[in-house]
Amino acid sequence: MKMNLFPSLRHLFPLAAVAILPLAGCDKQPPVGNPKPGKTLTVGFSQVSAESDWRVAESKSMKDEAAKRGIDLKFSDSQGKQENQFKAIRSFIAQGVDAIILAPKVETGWEEILKEAKQAKIPVVLVDRGIKVSDDSLYVTLIASDFVAEGKLAGEWLAKKTGGMARIIELEGSPGAAPAIDRKKGFAESIAAHPGMKIIASQSGDFETGKGKEVMETLLQQHGKNITAVYAHNDNMALGAIEAIKAAGKKPGVDILIVSIDAVRAAFTAMVAGDLNCTIECNPLLGPLAFDAVEKARKGEAVPKKTVIEDRVFDQSAAAAELPNRKY
């Protein structure tokens, strides 16, 4: 085989197409940062995903609020991947948005990307969970719930209801997910004071109804009468557990107590039906607070660094009254 080394590279000429890219630099650079006053605000919102009722409610709240205030909202669903959130933030910077609202998928990894936003003089508002950065000025404010506190409230409610004696099945959220880790931690801390409360099994239901049902079914067969309570990291999994318990011929809410977190509408319906005992609220309607912060930041006003949303506890007694209020 006659081999000429370099001629074989000639067929790479089509890569010259890539050469058009630097020509893009000939265009004037987009303005970043400071819009003229009175112009419509453009805000970029980087959302984690559409994986649960809660997430969808959070996104809707943002959209509704933006529409109400006449703000042009660029929405990006990152399908659960942090790298997609990097991409979204970069796209927002390139478009010269006036502010970025970020619902971070994870706690770490934001240092560099937020530096880029800072350089472009775009303020960043964090919603839904906090991040670990060495430089606090990389974001304007944080509006979030405290997942550990939610787990604690769940544990405390269960301890009070059962008088400190329970054999608990824990349905965890997706492995590695921050709400799952924190809600597990909070719950474990609160029941540590009650030696009669034992978690007999802890498996992931992936924050999903179907998986919650599958796992619950398997665990019911294994532990049967031993189970007195279920702690689910979110309502979706609790609803699945309810179905599994019914299918096993037991009465959810009566034979087995169920406590979960999120307080979505479906949970209240279940409580009214007597299937669910308690749900801890994790309010996703962060739109108003987020845009308040955005507008304040653009005007240069001071904004508190952290706003923790208070989580309320709802049990069956409050369910019927509260149900019509649940927007999500």
């Binding site: 559409a50 009722d53 590695g176 099994a201 109804t209 179907g210 398997t218 665990l219 294994q222 979706n236």
Partner: protein, 354 residues
């Protein structure tokens, strides 16, 4: 040769078994996934006797084994459809999304007034026909690579499912669907009977008619099959439509079982389980000979493994590790080269011993 008379009974049984399997090569491939399943069953026999308990309540059967069968139904249905597509030389990544679209649409309609179950079924079939035709046309007629074509459907389908429900989950209200997902017929869960029916019908269609032969021919060597007069394009289109039908059916069963549709999560990542079941079951990814029963065994293997791990209390985040080891083990069992090595090692030992 009088050797036969002096050989003890056990090697004679082995010889009989071996000649049986040699005469039925398709069954031969089945041994290894069955062996894998056997390993898991053995493990549970040793460490988890309660695994095999079957109880009855209201005349219906319950128990971990029944749970495995029921939970495996969706992957089994997907795997049956996927088997034909893979046998025809392609692959279908969109099955999870088709499940989601069919499930979401049917669930949505069930909450909008009185749709009879037959109509809902018809809607699901329609969804499947459209999705399958889309995939099949892109692959067979536009000549796109199956991974790309079905990837497009996967993304589009997920988006459609989300838009049908507005992103929000829907609770299902249809007794027919609920029966499909959770009902019992003569004590046996309805979904299991459904799978049996689908396998039997598909098996008959494939093996009693020339359909199976055509599919294998197309997958093995498309050009040769076309020159032999097989309508390769039509066969491929059929395979993708059939796969979408199975996916839609799986979607209905899941929706009926869970009672609730989460459009973003329904069917997510199940295409991978389906392809794994098919490949573990003995069908080669490049196309050609296929085994429906093998795919069913493959699906059972995956589900048994999942349930066993939960019962053993394996933390969910490291559960993938034993899964990986079992898959490798089953692969190795299937490998002719390993068996040759073992045979050589065994005869080497025997020679040393003698």
């Amino acid at each position: 040769m009088t050797k036969e008379d002096s050989t003890p009974t056990r090697p004679r049984v082995f010889a009989a078994l071996r000649s049986f399997f040699i005469r039925h090569p398709s069954l031969q491939r089945l041994i290894w996934p069955l062996a894998g399943l056997g390993l898991l069953v053995l493990f549970n026999l040793m460490f988890d006797r309660a695994f095999f308990e079957i109880t009855t309540r209201d005349g219906n059967l319950y128990g971990p084994v029944m749970t495995i069968l029921r939970l495996a139904v969706k992957v089994m249905l997907l795997a049956i459809g996927m088997t034909l597509v893979i046998a025809a030389g392609g692959v279908d990544l969109s099955v999870g999304s088709v499940m989601a679209v069919a499930g979401a649409l049917v669930a949505y309609l069930s909450t909008q007034g009185d749709w009879p179950f037959a109509a809902l079924l018809g809607v699901a079939v329609l969804v499947a026909l459209v999705a399958g035709a889309f995939n099949g046309t892109l692959v067979a007629f536009a000549g796109l690579q199956p991974i790309v074509a079905t990837l497009i459907m996967m993304v589009l389908g997920r988006g459609l499912a989300l838009s049908i429900t507005g992103g929000l989950p829907i609770s299902v209200q249809d007794p027919g669907l609920e029966f499909l997902g959770r009902g019992f017929v003569a004590g046996i869960p309805a979904p299991i009977l459904l799978v049996v029916a689908v396998v039997v019908i598909t098996g008959i269609a494939c093996r009693m008619t020339a359909l199976g032969l055509f599919i294998e021919a197309v997958g093995d060597n498309e050009n040769a099959s076309r020159m032999s007069g097989v309508n390769a394009r039509g066969i491929k289109l059929f395979a993708y439509v059939f796969c979408a039908l199975c996916a839609a059916l799986a979607g209905l069963v899941t929706v009926g079982d869970v009672g609730r549709v989460e459009p973003d999560r329904l069917g997510q990542m199940l295409e991978l389980d389906a392809i794994t079941a098919v490949v573990v079951g003995g069908t080669v990814l490049t196309g050609g000979r296929f085994s429906l029963v093998g795919s069913i065994v493959g699906a059972l293997l995956i589900q048994t493994l999942t349930v066993t791990l939960i019962r053993q209390g394996m933390p969910s985040d490291v559960a993938p590790v034993p899964k990986a080891l079992v898959i490798i083990a089953v692969c190795l069992l299937q490998s002719p080269r390993l068996r040759a090595q073992l045979a050589a090692w065994r005869s080497g030992v025997r020679r040393v011993g003698a």
